[in-house]
């Protein structure tokens, strides 16, 4: 991409982000929130700053750390104050404190599901429910949610349950400061728009066109539809119009639908119900037909607008994400930290902490820690009761079983491609069927022609397996090295998320395409060996299922280099594959 085009892409993204923030301030009730995908940096800070200015000094801005404990979010008892005073002292939760303001979740991609569920519940019901013995209250809370998504990997976006409930998913990744210095939409304009919002009307035809467009883009969610309609109203208000015009609808589709597209219209069939049969009255029928035509025409324009915005987002981020995705993998050593869970698994020791916030109290250890101080504390307080302080608390340290991710790397080259892929698919399904009770996942990478593809991203869902692997590609050369590289990359990224990767190769080891995509056996072999050493040094467990008729020396060599278990399996049928994998899987 040339510099100037990168600049103009940046400018457009920035303007979209600015507009989204303005619209949210015009109709916070109807639009609910924004997620911003960008690394921490001056561009994001500037955007946040402008949002804060728009909401005004009076409204609360409540940051939520990613590791926020449930009680902080919902409110409960202030333990330190309670212990100090000897009587329960209540504490307001973050959700309640954000009422009339904004809740800002930093590192939203790390937001635990439980916290996400509470936030989603508060958005849905407009209230928080705090219920503990001796204390039960409901508090109203209406806030806008801002998710700061710093993920480097598209698989690691913030939890769907909150993403689904906010109107805008904004992309600021790759936008430079230069692009970001255009003048923001003025605050006086927003005030005016807010006042006139209730007077804006949206014609029924227009609304239906928007819906047709959403359905054509595979966005069935009614929440998304509502957001698009509300965004188009807010846009009209900002424009000083009393009716939603085509351009508002177009812009609303770009802002709301582009990030939610699941279908590209040229490959999909007609999802919309056919128009009703023509009535007896000919004139009437003509009228409906022409209005239907108009409606569809507008829908086509809206689809196009949303698609354009999608292209824009992709062009800004794919190159960067790809680099980042690979680089982040090298920091794989963090998995140990993730396996130490606060409140699940088996106890392995104790640590200092707050029992209300993050774990289960180890009573004995707590008393032991408090014991030496009792004389002193009783003297200071001049009584004889047991004195516990927050620093005495000892919590149980728990360890969870690390879930496994089985990554199948399947040779889809040559004439046997189809049957090998089909058996691999069968093995994936059988394996998933067996590991209901474990948190294990399965992914599948296929390599053929010049490269490797992640056909099935990590999943536990049989439905998804069926859908993704319905059409199996195949044929061409054998880029084993590319398959290994893709597997290594995925394994590293999965390891950083706390899973133990287990690589399963199904190939005859006869590589003939090098990593760079060039044909040639020697270069291809060399690349394979390099990658095998990398896989070994990352200490990933692996299994090499040789699908040649007789054991191939090349396959044995690669397997040995990788430290893989080697099996000869000329007829790799799904039942056998899944049985071997099940046996060798780390438990």
């Amino acid at each position: 991409m040339s510099q100037s085009s990168a600049q103009s892409v940046g400018l457009e993204l920035w303007q979209a982000a600015d507009l989204a923030s303005a619209l949210l301030m015009i109709d916070p009730l109807g639009l609910k929130g924004i997620s911003v995908h960008a690394g921490a940096g001056p561009v994001r800070d500037l955007w946040l700053e402008q949002l804060y200015q728009r909401i005004g000094a009076a409204a609360p801005i409540i940051p939520v750390p990613a590791a926020v404990p449930e009680d902080r979010l919902l409110g409960g008892l202030d333990l330190a104050a309670t212990l100090a005073t000897g009587a329960p002292v209540a504490e307001q939760g973050l959700l309640e404190r954000a009422n009339t303001g904004i809740l800002v979740a930093r590192m939203a991609e790390r937001l635990p599901r439980a916290s996400a569920a509470h936030i989603a519940g508060a958005i849905d019901t407009g209230s928080v429910l705090v219920e503990r013995q001796g204390m039960s209250r409901k508090a109203q809370t209406l806030f806008s949610l801002v998710l700061l998504d710093e993920s480097s990997d598209p698989l690691m976006a913030p939890p769907d349950i909150v993403m689904e409930r906010i109107a805008f998913h904004i992309e600021l990744d790759g936008v430079s400061m230069g692009a970001a210095n255009s003048a923001p939409i003025g605050i006086d304009l927003l005030t005016k728009a807010r006042a006139s919002l209730s007077k804006v009307s949206l014609a029924d035809d227009m609304a239906r066109s928007i819906d047709v467009a959403a359905l054509q883009l595979g966005v069935g969610s009614l929440r998304a539809l509502r957001f698009t309609l509300n965004a188009s109203r807010a846009l009209a208000a900002l424009d000083g119009e009393t009716n939603v015009l085509e351009r508002h609808a177009q812009l609303a589709c770009r802002l709301v639908l582009s990030s939610r597209i699941t279908l590209l219209p040229d490959v999909q069939e007609n999802v919309v119900d056919p128009p009703p049969p023509p009535s007896d009255n000919q004139a009437d029928a003509d009228e409906t037909a022409s209005s239907d035509d108009k409606q569809n025409e507008l829908a086509d324009q809206l689809v196009e607008a949303a698609q354009l915005a999608l292209d824009l987002r992709l062009s800004a981020t794919t190159s960067k994400r790809r680099q980042l995705g690979f680089a982040s993998g090298t920091a794989g050593g963090r998995s140990g930290a993730l396996q130490n869970s606060r409140d699940r698994g088996r106890q392995t020791g104790t640590r200092i902490g707050d029992p209300r916030r993050d774990g289960r109290l180890d009573l004995l250890a707590t008393l032991r820690a408090a014991a030496p101080w009792q004389k002193l504390r009783q003297k200071a307080a001049d009584d004889e009761r047991l004195h516990l302080r927050t620093e005495d608390f000892r919590l149980r340290r728990m360890r969870m079983r690390t879930p496994t991710i089985v990554i199948f790397v399947v040779d889809a080259s040559g004439s046997l491609a189809m049957s090998r892929m089909a058996e691999a698919k069968g093995a994936v399904e059988l394996l998933l069927n067996d590991c209901y009770t474990r948190r294990d996942q399965v992914a599948l990478i296929a390599f053929r022609r010049e490269g490797a593809d992640l056909l099935l991203p990590p999943t536990r869902s049989l439905v998804r397996v069926r859908r993704s692997l319905a059409h199996l590609p195949g044929g061409g050369g054998t880029p084993l090295a590319a398959g290994m590289a893709e597997a290594l990359k995925l394994a590293l990224s999965e390891q950083s998320r706390g899973r133990a990767p287990f690589l399963v190769f199904l190939s005859d080891g006869k590589a003939n395409i090098s990593l760079s995509g060039e044909p040639g056996r020697d270069a291809a072999d060399q690349d394979c060996h390099t990658l095998a050493r990398q896989i070994r040094s990352a200490e990933f467990q692996s299994l090499f299922l040789d699908t040649s008729r007789r054991s191939s020396p090349k396959a044995i060599a690669i397997a040995a280099e990788m430290g893989a278990v080697y099996r000869l399996l000329p007829y790799a049928d799904s039942a056998t594959v899944s049985a071997i994998v099940g046996q060798l899987m780390p438990s």
């Binding site: 109807g30 509502r226 209300r356 109290l361």
Partner: protein
């Protein structure tokens, strides 16, 4: 908290029917709603709270005891067994309790009340979500992603109807009978077969594609969010109508007659589908009765059976990982064979 009125929900007939049947006859064993996001699953389930007829309950009892069967576990019920607490009875709406994903075991089963223990030196049990859901509904959104250790707890409690807590020097057992309601998107993970089997009815929730219906959903939702109180007031009467019908159905569900011919078809259908165990037949019968009672009928008709069969059987088919036919089609095929024969 203002919830969206049940009667204002557009479409989603199968889900609404399932929830009503579970409200009439809790022994059906719970409702599972599977489908895409943004289709109004949680809206419908949360709206259920307003439809449930009130139950006599001991006032302020932490375990929601029934007055004639007080468990005697808290200060209100007097810490003694089988007390008759009728003088402290009041009519209360059964709870619809949310069990959030990632909830800790402490919060679910209950634990030592830390405040009391530390501040007052008192050993007291703080009831968890299971206690709060007693005699009501327990709702789990994204139930297919629920942690395994919580699934174990749920299965145990659902089977025995009581929650046994042995931890931190506490030894408590309290009744916990509730209707399990789960929702989730099957693309994000499978449900454990044992848990799947616990749900009496399963509903396939699809995104509506009819434009008029979609527009109406969005219009009502918008009206609700912009002025919840006015919206709820507008639908109050139709909600109370449903509530009254549920109450009436509860009173007479036991008297609804199940003709032998209908029962025979129900059994035949289960056999044709290889639906495991007796649970399939039981659920079919119970939900058919509940729906007939709700509709004011004296006996179960063949049409009613046919209407509810997919929801009662869809999730009970023997799974073959290599068979790609979806369960909806399999049930329909079997129904055509059995009913049209």
């Amino acid at each position: 908290m203002t919830v969206f009125p049940f009667s204002a929900i557009v479409g989603q007939e199968e889900l609404k029917r399932a929830l009503i049947m579970a409200a009439v006859e809790p022994r059906i064993g719970g409702v599972l709603a599977l489908g895409d996001r943004g289709t109004g699953k949680s809206t419908a389930i949360r709206a259920l709270a307003d439809l449930l007829p009130k139950l006599p309950t001991v006032k302020d009892c932490a375990f929601r005891c029934a007055p004639d069967k007080a468990a005697g576990l808290c200060a209100v019920c007097g810490y003694s067994d089988k007390t008759d607490m009728s003088e402290k009875a009041s009519l209360q709406t059964p709870p619809v309790v949310d069990l959030p994903l990632g909830a800790t075991e402490d919060r679910v089963v209950g634990a030592l009340d830390l405040e009391r223990a530390l501040v007052g030196g008192e050993k007291r049990f703080e009831p968890g979500l299971l206690a709060r859901a007693h005699r009501g509904f327990l709702y789990i959104d994204e139930v297919n992603l629920l942690e395994d250790h919580l699934v174990d707890v749920l299965l145990d409690v659902a089977a025995s109807g009581e929650n046994v807590v042995e931890r931190e020097g506490l030894s408590v057992r309290h009744p916990a009978r509730f209707v399990l309601v789960g929702s989730g998107n099957p693309e994000e993970g499978e449900l454990r077969p044992q848990l799947l089997d616990r749900f009496g009815i399963s509903v396939d929730v699809r995104t509506p594609t009819d434009l008029d219906e979609r527009m109406e959903v969005v219009r009502r939702r918008d009206a609700f969010e912009r002025d919840p109180d006015a919206f709820v007031a507008k639908w109050k009467r139709s909600n109370s109508n449903i509530r009254r019908k549920i109450q009436a159905a509860r009173d007479r569900v036991a008297e609804v007659v199940l003709p032998d011919a209908v029962l025979a078809k129900a059994v035949e259908l289960c056999v044709a589908l290889g639906a495991d165990g007796l649970r399939g037949e039981l659920t079919l019968m119970r939900s058919a009765r509940a729906l007939s009672a709700f509709n004011g009928k004296d006996d179960v008709s063949m049409e009613t059976l046919r209407l509810i069969a997919p929801s009662a059987l869809r999730h009970r088919l023997r799974k073959d990982p290599l068979d790609e036919t979806d369960s909806r089609t399999r049930v329909e095929r079997a129904m055509n064979e059995v009913f049209d024969a």
